[in-house]
Amino acid sequence: MTRRRVGIALLLATPLLMGQAKPVLVPDVSQRDIEIKYSFSGAELLLFGAILFPGGRLPEPGHRTDVAIVLKGPAQSIIIREKEKVAGIWVNAEALRYRSAPSFYAIASSRPITTLVDARTRAIYELGLDSLQLSPASNAAAAVQDRFTRGLVEQRRRTGLFVEAPRAVEITGDVLYRARLTIPARVPTGRFTAETFLIRDGRVLAAAVRDIDVRKTGFERFVTRAADRHAILYGLTAVALSALLGWGAGRFARRK
């Protein structure tokens, strides 16, 4: 009875809802595949796209539209260790395991993300380094989890694996946007995602995702595979290489 009533109400409201239709994002990236070769020292990605407003009407002035782009690396299961001074030396003391944490996280936005949306929305969409939703494998106290999460963010920020780039998204004529983000050489291989969020008046209006594959190719791929699948042969090759190089150099030096 009630369900039918709601259904009818919705049906009647359809034209209204369509008039209020949300804008749509059409995102793209400059590179869908990143190949790690011997000379790989990181990759610069251009993330760009268009905002399609319903009916082609631009929003009224005063309601500024913002864009945030989150580039995430494959999730990893990790252990964070905390050093403590014991008997004069720094040793790993406490540790916390996380079932999944992004191996790489970069957020670019047209204005600082904290000014765009509130903490709750940031937490829902994982917008910003202080809003990452990590899942600890143990039930440690919230304060401890907080400490370790901050430690992880700080450590990864220093190594360039976690990046916050406020004002890195440039919006042209309210319809085109672009941002540049760098993937450092230290990232693991796997599927990266670039999520784009359209934000206005503190709300996320639209979101769209693009995948980017990062993988080793050629010699690098061959070596990684060999080390993993043919460990004995790989080890023998390393040993033979070192013995031959050493022996060759010795002979060469003696002949001179």
């Binding site: 070769k37 720094w90 290489l241």
Partner: protein, 304 residues
């Protein structure tokens, strides 16, 4: 010139790695040590993960010792029987070392343990070498030479059973002594990525009392085989041997070693030994400071 290391998963400057190998090779040629005790800590300081550093440094020592072994063989400076027993001990030691490595890695203490072992060993050996070198330099400058110590093995060694003759070394001792020695060195090789020559040589002289003419050659013989085994152990257990990194280090070190060997022929051995002692003590100091100073990274992240 950046080169991507496929196992370490990061890119390094190839020229820096070759230079590092050359520097270590220079020292190893000059002093007749493998130089692994320098490579591993330097790689860690550069930012290579400790596991990859220890696993790849061992193969550099293989390259540095191979031509030395041939040279000593030619002039009969290798006690093969002694060497084989040392290597047999080394095989057992590397197995134990691999087990320890994994255990320490799982409990998160591997870096600290590596650091402490380095400080203790380098401090001890460095001090020993420094006092010995200073004493012989004073003799050079006219001080009275101390009465030569009678070559004798340690009383503990004499108490071991099943004595046998080692003709080249001029010894009649139990094979258990070199076996246990090899066991200890094998463990260190896997844990630290060092050849262990800097411990083995004094142990052969002061503990076993071997004839000095075969000490260096036999030590190199043992180093060659045990580093090969350590590389195999790492390749099959930790899978952390980076062949690209190893190749870069090797190219530098084999060239450096030849240059160093030439230089060593012209320098006074007493001063060389003092210089090596200073290098060893400096590395020891650097590692000790690394343990005691508040590290930049209180938090470390590893994959599980």
């Amino acid at each position: 010139m950046d080169v991507y290391l496929p196992i370490a998963n990061l890119s390094v400057n190839a020229l820096v790695m070759i230079a590092l190998g050359a520097g270590v090779g220079l020292l190893s040629g000059m002093f007749g040590v493998g130089g692994g005790f320098l490579t591993t800590p330097l790689l860690i300081v550069y930012g290579i993960p400790p596991t990859v550093a220890a696993a790849s440094a061992a193969s550099q020592v293989t390259g540095a010792s191979v031509s030395g072994v041939f040279a000593h063989f030619r002039r009969g400076g290798v006690d093969v029987k002694m060497g084989v027993i040392l290597v047999a001990g080394g095989i057992g030691g590397s197995m134990i070392g691999a087990f320890l490595f994994r255990f320490l890695q799982a409990s998160g203490q591997i870096d600290t343990v590596i650091g402490i072992i380095y400080v203790v060993l380098l401090g001890w050996i460095g001090a020993l070498m420094a006092t010995e070198a200073i004493r012989s330099i004073r003799v050079l400058h006219g001080a009275a030479a101390p009465r030569p110590r009678r070559r004798r093995h340690h009383p503990l060694v004499a108490s071991l059973p099943w004595r046998t003759r080692f003709y080249a070394s001029g010894l009649y001792i139990s094979p258990l002594a070199p076996f246990l020695l090899g066991l200890g060195i094998g463990m260190l090789t896997v844990l630290l990525g060092v050849g262990g020559g800097f411990i083995l040589v004094p142990a052969m002289i002061y503990l076993l009392g071997m004839a000095t003419s075969v000490v260096v050659g036999t030590s190199l013989f043992q180093t060659l085989f045990v580093t090969m085994i350590a590389t195999m152990v790492h390749a099959t257990t930790t899978k952390a041997v980076d062949i690209v990194l190893a190749a870069l280090l090797l190219v530098g070190s084999v060239v450096g070693a030849q240059v160093g060997a030439r230089f060593a022929n012209r320098a006074r051995p007493e001063y060389l030994r003092l210089a090596l002692a200073i290098v060893v003590l400096l590395v020891c100091l650097r590692v000790a400071l690394g343990l005691a100073w508040r590290p930049d990274e209180i938090y470390t992240v590893e994959l599980s």
